[in-house]
Symmetry: C2
Subunit: 225 residues, 2 copies
Amino acid sequence: VARVWSIVVAGGSGRRFGEMKQFSTLSGRPVVEWAVEACRPVSAGVVLVVPVKLWESTKQNAHGADAVLVGGATRAESVRCGLEAVPAEAEVIVVHDAARPLAPPALFADVLEALDEEGVVGVVPGLAPSDTIKVVDGNMNVTSTLDRASLVAVQTPQAFRADVLRAAHARAANSPDAVATDDAMLVEASGGRVRVVPGYPGNLKITTPDDLATAERLLAAVQDA
Amino acid sequence: VARVWSIVVAGGSGRRFGEMKQFSTLSGRPVVEWAVEACRPVSAGVVLVVPVKLWESTKQNAHGADAVLVGGATRAESVRCGLEAVPAEAEVIVVHDAARPLAPPALFADVLEALDEEGVVGVVPGLAPSDTIKVVDGNMNVTSTLDRASLVAVQTPQAFRADVLRAAHARAANSPDAVATDDAMLVEASGGRVRVVPGYPGNLKITTPDDLATAERLLAAVQDA
């Protein structure tokens, strides 16, 4: 898999609650370290992007990554920083949230396999949202309820053709006001075909102390099995 | 609050994983019993609707409800059954999922208070989805990524003007093919104005053993406090 490189994105804007949970300890190691390790089996190299306020500490400890960089003010900017450290010969780039320590190897395999389909330039894992999702106006009046059968709540790892991801990020760099909550969104905006494969219910995003406790329990269950 | 009645809906279609978790034991009592109790402070009466396969056992134990009924094949049908047991003089009807044992009293107060606003006929609690939400076509190709800032993942309790909820359900009874994942959806379809108030992050919907373990932990934290 010399052609695959991964970017693990930690923090970013700090607009979301619990950003620093990515550096909390999960079963003896920082959450981010689990996330880097999860990428390892499919990756020729792993680039870690961290918030500037954690730069000093990560210089001492790369958390298993091959390169550590300081990110930008938004998630998209942070991934753009990471792209600069990915060698030009990489054909596929996987982007993974540092806050998802429990993504299993099979999920990486699934997204990479689907990326080999004709015409597909990006693959994201997703699951039907567990709650009903509504659209609201600026005054919090409901304007519609979405058809849950056509919705997916997406996770990472997300896999992309390297050239397509680079082009999408280059394009996005010119419209910094648009908030991209994932990389697939930028690729979609470029017109690329993005596929969804089934996500993994245990692939938690760690944002609260409760998430961390649940992750500890899931990890203990795996280790006992 | 003689004018407020609550309907607690357990199970229904059985199409969703974990339906029976509503009857699992949480800190010594069935999940559904916590849900009924949560409605109690604001309710003149609480009606519990259960799946037919649990009817025999709930006849022996009403789980604290004033009336227990057998539900229908869908969630909407189950709520319609429940409506028949709510007295005509009730002015406000609260619908609550049996799978949400941790809804706090303040959340019931919030939805009821917002229902007093001029022109509002329904109020639902909601939070921004924690994941990026995408729309997919039948082949799981992404067709769009929704603007997360305009989305809410909704919870229960949901509160409605009784006459509006009854009319919306009567209307829905005539189009049984439409799947309503919550009651507000039916009221919206009737053109009624539905408001969103902030949900409560700890207001878990119990669908997996993990959810149950998290609920145990949250409950223990509250009881220790």
